[in-house]
Symmetry: C2
Subunit: 435 residues, 2 copies
């Protein structure tokens, strides 16, 4: 080691922060050999100074106020693991970058909202902003896309980016149980938050997709342009229907270049059982990238958890300490193009549609007439017995279409929803031909 040691600070000592601290302390030699210099944990910040987190605080300064870490002379790199897209996390990162300190963060919400501005700030100060842990947990997904595939023109990025949703969907698949029941179990097991909306409504996956999209297509992150549907409306009927035609349901985050428009969405999607994504079970994540000249690559690994997330934080730390971290977005942040997300771009797909309708004469005729008027060709249709809905006079109707333009399909669904006999919001999913 001929290079001077670097001092690091960790803000936030939850499960990830504590694991990161333990790794830095317990495996200092290994990390030093990879970084080419010694890294010393000099300061931390957390809500509670006294809690036992499995490492000794001897010789490590404690700051009640995380922002104070940015102003310490004995801190060169700040690791932000507080969370939240504003407040102390943002204050800390801004103060650190302004003061010429590099920052490592796992904060996807913050990066999706403020990442471009913060990257410009970092680059203007000649320091690094790194966030591998913000997307797909331990999978080095940003590095793969940004550096490993640097020269490719990306056409499509797809992923399973939320482990909680994937755990719920794959458990529904293997047990036949329904959403609410599995969600409750996931909460009991600690896989889902008490307020699960960030996960099950697709927000978390969309934050991650906004970052992948930005890196892959060289455009400013644009969370608001992502068309988001969560998994609350996925029922065991949908899971069974999918299995019957050879598909599994996954919450897919997809960004693709459709004739120059970057279209990004997060939605439950039917993927072929034979595809790589259908085999991504439980809390795993996956990121698949298609582009030229590579063709396609997929990486699968743990999407969450203290060890996996710490692995990504530490990878960033090594790169930053060695002075070889790439710009967060792969190119200079002030050269990112305006976001060209355009959710209304036309595309063609097969669709799955589940309606809840009154079980009375003429309903199927009405529904199929609407579909015919919008040129939607029905591939299969199944009206299930009354018992399936518990005797309130409604029954589920499940149908799949042949390839149809999405705007035709959307118009047809709007009209179907307005039918008297249709009693609930229809469930619509794309049936993906790809993995």
């Amino acid at each position: 080691m001929t290079t001077a040691p670097l001092n690091i600070a960790i803000a936030g000592l939850g499960t990830v922060g504590a694991e990161t601290a333990r790794q830095v302390l317990d495996h200092a030699d290994h990390i030093a050999s990879r970084a080419g210099r010694v890294l010393t944990l000099t300061a931390v910040s957390a809500r509670d100074a006294s809690r036992d987190r499995g490492f000794s605080m001897d010789g490590i300064a404690f700051e009640q106020d995380p922002v104070a870490l940015a102003h310490r002379d004995d801190v060169d790199i700040v690791i932000e693991l507080i969370g939240g897209d504003d407040g102390p996390a943002l204050d800390l990162i801004e103060a650190a970058l302004e003061g010429g300190k590099s920052v490592v963060t796992a904060n996807k919400a913050l990066l999706a909202k403020h990442g471009a501005r913060l990257a410009v700030l970092a680059e203007s100060k000649g320091v690094h902003l790194a966030g591998e842990a913000s997307v797909a947990g331990g999978i080095p997904s940003l590095k793969m896309l940004r550096e490993g595939l640097a020269a490719n023109r990306i056409s499509r990025i797809s992923g399973i980016l939320n482990g909680t949703c994937n755990y719920i969907l794959s458990t529904m698949e293997t047990t036949g149980r329904d959403f609410e029941d599995v969600l409750k179990e996931a909460q009991d097991l600690g896989y889902a938050e008490a307020d699960p909306s960030f996960d099950v409504d697709g927000i978390d996956a969309a934050h991650k997709l906004a970052l992948l999209t930005s890196i892959g297509f060289g455009s400013l992150p644009d969370f608001d342009a992502i068309d988001i549907t969560g998994i609350r409306s996925v029922s065991s009927i949908d899971i069974n229907s999918a299995a019957n035609i050879g598909y599994a349901i996954r919450l897919l985050a997809i960004a693709e270049n459709r004739d120059g428009n970057i279209v990004a969405s997060v939605q439950p999607t039917m993927v072929p059982l034979s595809s790589g994504l259908a085999k991504v079970d439980g809390p795993l994540n996956a990121v698949a990238v298609e582009g030229q000249p590579i063709g396609s690559v997929i990486a699968v690994g743990p999407g969450a958890g203290a060890g996996a997330t710490a692995s990504a934080v530490l990878a960033d730390l090594v790169e930053v300490a060695a002075g070889r971290a790439a710009p967060f977005f792969g190119c200079a942040a002030d050269q990112l193009k305006p976001a060209s997300n355009n959710g209304s771009a036309d595309y063609t797909a097969r669709f799955y549609l589940r309606l809840t309708v009154y079980d009375r004469p003429g309903v199927l005729a009405d529904v199929t007439a609407v579909l015919r008027d919008h040129h939607v060709s029905v591939e299969s249709i199944l009206q299930q017995g009354r018992a399936a809905e518990g005797g309130n006079g409604t029954v589920p109707v499940v149908l799949t279409t042949h390839d149809i333009n999405n705007s035709e399909m959307t118009a047809a669904i709007r009209e179907i929803k307005s039918l008297d006999a249709v009693t609930a919001e229809p469930t619509v999913m794309i049936i993906s031909g790809e993995g």
Copy 2:
């Protein structure tokens, strides 16, 4: 672009070299935005100057002798795509590094043999030696292991590293055809060389494993310590037997830390049909890494082909041009530990064994007595009908064992081979519990 342009030279204009040149010429702006500077192709070397390779040679110097590229003042980075583990490829790389020029290469055989020395040379000159394209084609596998998982203590690296073998094995699996037949087809299709031994005998996979092992475990590359078995002995009987018990056969390259010994092997292995590796079909490659704190990650993608390989070459080129390429082995090359490969380390596994024996009384009793004497517990045994071997009086006996120490198993096999009734070399495979 505030940084000065960089000039690059390509030695070797086969399919990969020509594709790399076309990408550099046709997508210069994209590559410049990622590298932060303009890259200009100033010189090439190839056997034949006049052949049309899909790009214009106007303004590009041609050198008959590749080593001359290293001495040109208008070349900053040399891309070596000649191949061969000595001769002009080595001369060129040495001359370039000696002259202070960075080198990008796809040459696994050369890196496995000379990589440590060349990396020391590069580091002493303050330039880069990069070789992402040498392992697993387009999959950024070295980058994932070396940088994305930098802080992990690696326990196991496993991979499908040879697309030709994987194409042959997965085609045997889906068609029921035998090795020689599928090999011939692969040769006709251009997936296998006229002399296929580098691929089907496991040499190519072992070169790649030597590099992954070195990076993952921080030790000098040691090709000679890898226990190599190719796929020539895999028959359709083995493929069927595997399928019957829920397994597929893949040529696995595995390096693992067994009680401090790094044990590396390339051998046909039975992997569970439900595992990720069993689903890696055709010419795909896969690299799986296990370590702490990550757990495990797997990446799957194209293991060969002009586009995939050029993608990896260009990724290196961008990193080198941006001045942020990591040291080839992840740590300073002069700090690599001596190789601690030890093929004789003990381990426990289930084994598959196929014998060719004379169909006469007492043979099974002799075989099973040997197994008993070596404490090998037989899980299943099947002697197939005489027709299966074409009437020369021999029949195949296929058996699987419960967990047994490898040295006991090796001793048992040695004794079984010496039995009069055993007429051919036994086929032995590990039955892997893991993917």
